[in-house]
């Protein structure tokens, strides 16, 4: 009976063929490591956030006089409201953790290189959408940190040339962060995740065009691809189980570790807290912002620090595939980058002192430096490694790519 229904549907809608082509029979490299689980994990966290968010929105009030109280109402009176709230606040951190690991995997293995540039750039777009969503969501509890964080960050738009002041007022809907700002941030916070869902679909379409890269850096032969189902469905489910243990460990036992104490105090526009600090996932970029003594310079540096990732396919000029695998210098740069991000995160958190300012400035220079020397180091490293000798497959891959480029050039003449 169900067979007949499926036949009826399939004549009118490519359901079975889609599921087969893009899910169950989708060819995936057999050697993918667990670092490849984080894309699907990000999708799961997105679903979690949307679900908890919608049910929270049934009780939340986006009005300056009521928002803080409505959160307490959710925490104390709404059935399982406390669970929804803690899942949502933990989920935001989980989302960024998963995305940062997902990005790190891509950088380490060079998965941003041709032909995956659009995949990387749609990812970059997703990162920006996520940051925007998180920033606006953080205002909604209307705590001290919510208010002052939003005040500081919307202030930065003053750096816009000529119309800076008007842009800030336009963003806020008022001269200061207030009821107007709160209402519109709620509307946009509800909207953006659905834009994210659309962008994720574009991201996946791009992926299915070029297929996953893999830890060996070399495109596998067809025989070495295996169908996504059952191998990666079960592997993703297992990875999900591990992830959920970490997630619920935080959400159910230590949720308040991720909530700034000052945000348990209702917003007071007359009194700034001693210590304004964004959520942990914004800390490195915040540190870069503060490292530049000039406001416009700081804003430009911070914006650049987020956007620079997009340039990786161009900055990395090495023909050697596989990212850090066969390239010891690139691997060093990668680890240095990770450590630098941690240092910047720490600097972003602590109140600035003479020492921490200097450390932050050095770390910011290192951050940009790693990107800016990459065009040069990648070329030098390539020359050195090819002289030294690379594994046969890698040489073959480089040779075939060079041949393709040469053919295109001669064909085009």
């Amino acid at each position: 009976m169900s067979n007949k229904i499926m036949q009826w549907v399939d004549r009118r809608f490519p359901l079975t063929s889609f599921v087969k082509h893009d899910l169950s029979e989708y060819p995936t490299p057999r050697n993918l490591s667990y670092w490849w689980n984080f894309g699907s994990l990000a999708g799961i966290v997105l679903v979690l956030q949307v679900l908890t968010g919608i049910f929270l929105a049934m009780h939340y009030k986006a009005d300056v006089a009521q928002s803080f109280n409505s959160i307490q109402h959710i925490m104390r009176d709404v059935n399982y409201g406390w669970l929804l709230r803690y899942m949502h606040s933990t989920g935001a951190s989980a989302f960024f953790l998963v995305i940062f690991i997902h990005m790190a995997r891509t950088l380490y293995y060079g998965s941003y290189r041709a032909p995956r540039e659009l995949l990387w750039w749609t990812g970059q777009g997703l990162l920006l959408l996520l940051m925007g969503t998180a920033f606006m969501g953080y205002l909604l509890p209307w705590g001290q940190m919510s208010f002052w964080g939003a005040t500081v960050i919307t202030n930065l738009f003053r750096a816009t040339p000529f119309i800076g002041d008007q842009v800030v007022v336009w963003l806020r809907g008022d001269y200061t962060v207030g009821d107007e700002t709160l209402t519109r941030f709620f509307a946009l916070h509800y909207l953006l995740p659905f834009v994210i869902i659309g962008a994720v679909m574009v991201h996946l379409i791009a992926l299915h065009m070029v297929k996953s890269s893999n830890p060996s850096g070399i495109d596998l032969a067809d025989k070495d691809n295996i169908p996504f189902h059952p191998y990666f469905t079960i592997k993703d489910l297992y990875g999900l189980g591990v992830f959920l243990m970490v997630y619920f460990g935080f959400a159910l036992f230590f949720p308040n570790l991720l909530i700034e104490p000052a945000n348990n105090i209702p917003a007071n526009p007359m009194q700034t807290p001693n210590h304004i600090v964004p959520e942990w996932y914004f800390l490195p970029f915040y540190a870069i912002l503060r490292s530049v003594p000039n406001m416009v310079g700081g804003v430009v540096a911070m914006g650049l620090s987020v956007m620079l990732f997009a340039f990786m396919p161009f900055l990395d000029r090495s023909k050697i595939p596989g990212g850090a695998l066969y390239r010891p210098i690139y691997r060093l740069q990668f680890y240095l980058f990770i450590i630098d991000m941690m240092i910047l995160g720490y600097i972003g958190y602590v109140p600035p002192t003479d020492q921490t300012i200097v450390i932050g400035q050095i770390a910011s220079v290192v951050y940009f430096g790693i990107f800016f020397i990459l065009p040069f180091t990648s070329k030098i490293e390539e020359k050195w490694l090819r002289n030294r000798g690379l594994p046969a497959q890698v040489e073959a891959l480089i040779a075939s790519e060079e041949l393709q480029i040469a053919q295109k050039k001669s064909g085009g003449k």
């Binding site: 049910f55 399982y80 059952p230």
Partner: protein, 170 residues
């Protein structure tokens, strides 16, 4: 393809597959509970779901109107006369015995909202009169003249003490 076998051999008919699916399914089912129950009235609303009325100091013939869940409720301490009239008949357009509408003959508790268009009737005549369209109710809150067609609704209530009425809970 060997891959179907990979699932088939280990899968469908396998005990482990069944157990895992059941365990997973139980988790998913359990996970829906917080979401669904969060939509039910919250604790503070339920606390307001009952209204306590202090009956001390009410003489026979005296009526109090209290708010319960946003609606007016008439609490009438009926006189002997009023009880006699109420018991004597089964009402008018929507017949029912008076004994079915009260827990103690002396106290009538009805929602003071006319079942026609929702106006609040006045205590006059031999019961209540609704001045919006002329509906009339007797001393048991039963409709005796239209255009209303149903009796005044009796809310759940109980006596928590001799002189304490709790509306909202049977």
């Amino acid at each position: 393809m060997a891959h179907d076998e990979a699932l088939g051999d280990v899968g469908r008919r396998d005990f482990l597959f069944k157990v895992t699916t059941v365990v997973g399914g139980v988790g998913v089912a359990a996970a829906t509970v917080p979401f669904v129950t969060s939509m039910n009235p919250s604790a503070d609303l339920l606390a307001k779901a009952t209204t306590e009325v202090d009956l001390a100091g009410m003489d026979p013939g005296h009526m109090r109107t209290v708010a319960w869940q946003g609606k007016p409720v008439f609490v009438l301490r009926r006189t002997e006369e009023q009880i006699k009239l109420a018991v004597a008949s089964k009402g008018g357009l929507d017949p029912v015995a008076d004994q079915q509408r009260v827990k103690q003959a002396e106290w009538l508790v009805v929602i003071g909202v006319c079942t026609h268009m929702g106006c609040v009737p006045n205590l006059e005549g031999e019961g209540w009169t609704c001045h919006c369209h002329g509906s009339q109710y007797d001393y048991s809150g039963r409709v005796v003249r239209g255009p209303a067609g149903k009796n005044l609704e009796v809310p759940p209530y109980h006596f928590s003490a001799a002189d304490k009425l709790v509306i909202g809970e049977a």
